[in-house]
Subunit: 345 residues, 2 copies
Amino acid sequence: MGAPVKRPTINDVARTAGVSRGAVSYALNGRPGVSEATRQRILSVAEELGFHPDRAARALAGAPAKAIGLSLYRPASTLGVEPFFMELISGLEAELSLRSYALLLHMVADREQEAAVYRRWGRERAVDGVLVCDVLEHDPRLPLLEELRFPAVVIGPPPAGGAIASVWSDDAVSLQEAVGYLAALGHRRIGHVAGIPEFAHTRVRSAAFADLARRLGLEAAPCAYTDYSSPDGARATRRLLGAPDRPTALVYDNDIMAVAGLAVAQEMGLSVPGDLSVVAWDDSPICRIVHPELTALTRDITGYGRQAARLLLAAVDGREIADVAVEAAHLTPRASTAPPAGRLY
Amino acid sequence: MGAPVKRPTINDVARTAGVSRGAVSYALNGRPGVSEATRQRILSVAEELGFHPDRAARALAGAPAKAIGLSLYRPASTLGVEPFFMELISGLEAELSLRSYALLLHMVADREQEAAVYRRWGRERAVDGVLVCDVLEHDPRLPLLEELRFPAVVIGPPPAGGAIASVWSDDAVSLQEAVGYLAALGHRRIGHVAGIPEFAHTRVRSAAFADLARRLGLEAAPCAYTDYSSPDGARATRRLLGAPDRPTALVYDNDIMAVAGLAVAQEMGLSVPGDLSVVAWDDSPICRIVHPELTALTRDITGYGRQAARLLLAAVDGREIADVAVEAAHLTPRASTAPPAGRLY
DNA sequence: CTGAAAGCGCTTACAG
DNA sequence: CTGAAAGCGCTTACAG
């Protein structure tokens, strides 16, 4: 591909500015060691020359890699379907790019691969910190990250061990809002189409659901677990609606499954919201392009990502970090929820 | 966060194996300079010590960064909605990880930012090559990448200049398949809800559409441009269906807009496919979770991504590369297409 | 086929 | 506040 383009080095800047390389480095990194006047002169020379420090050289000399790793466990079945991650990534990016941090994205098909990726990132010093999603009950990644001394932030409910800080939104509160609303409409049999049972956030939601069902004295509160994919959401819906005392309302753990469930209900001849109310977790455009539009638990996913990035960068800077709770998802009532049939107001 | 974990260096491997550092480097990189026996011994020592060469040191010494850059231009309105990119990325990743290449993802809000990202990547030697999506008619990124001597691959139709190879699928063929099918069903007024007119792939599609309309002698072939978002798709649908001689079929440039258009048709009291046939470009689960299920142009997006990654890695390896055509999208007829109302068979 | 040496472009104590 | 020097961990000609 031809010789690489000649790039100015720190030497060029130092020579042009008439100072030492060290002075240039200090000036560029905002560290003490140069006078303000000199710093300004150096900065303007660097600007003029179009100088950007070589990432590799910088890293080798002990400076941070200026990159964050996100390893995503994606089973083939859910590929390309969850708007959540695209929005999350866009929030991460927004914050990272402010500080010129890159996002290293890696998708893995299984957990062992993910561990291998962390080890490699650690050994190669490819990233300065990692974000951890979809944490399991006893997640082997967490002790591994501690062993590797990796600054890390969990996206999701704070894990039991507690050594790694997390950014989370209180799903129990949100679930309460959704189920409370359905109960207030008069629903007594409310089903839950949940996500992957091994995930900590799934357990938070299903525990909150069971708890609420008890407190509200619901007649039935069946829960079906899925892999978050729309076919699985459709299957779970058929199962729940096929039971003798079928639920009159269903809460779905994501938007994709709620839309799939809506289609299943319609194919079973049930009208929504007449015969069945539907609530989707995570609002997205697809909740508004189906008929009826879906009542959803809306949250600022991009903001969630920004917050996670900010917290991780604080950890990377060596600051002590603690769990951060972002605002919980709130219910956006739309046309897919109504009082159950047979009940009059 | 404590001291970094002590990692074995090439010196440790050399000492343990009783050879020089150079020998270890040659052995690890599969270059001539060591006997096969020595190579094996070195490799097993490296394995035993858990040695992974430091990415920064390697890069600084002139070796590739082992990373590929993907800068995505995402206007806020389409954030998180296009399944296409998630699938593409997953294909890229699948191929890159085979060769231990990382994917550096960067989302930008405008074109100037994207140019700045390329320059930075070039100067910092952060990536060995870049992938270019959504190419414009006279795209300023292409000459910039040439100027920077960046190995690059365009994902989409080969640009006019021709210096940068592309991986593409022949959208004209696919459009012909879709419109030909609609015409065969008896439709004479077929509308096109297209994407962003500045994109080269949009122009390929709308040119093919206009050409076909002429050859098939269609009565009307209105085209509406959008930003690929579902609200914009809905607006375009309203506009096209509000015309006096409204189309009896619409072809959408993505799945999201087709679903939005379906909802608009239903809200206007038009039955699909009775009053309006709908075809979606890019098949995804959401095409199958709406009612009626959408006829779609199906293609192997993951495979598209894999192919793009392979081609770019070939360029990074210094090989000459040429355009690669992947298989065009093919029509998957479903319930959203039928002969137009009033026509009998 | 092997080993010693230079050098990649930075950062950071350290002495002035 | 500044400058000279060492060193980060590799790769790669170059001489043996």
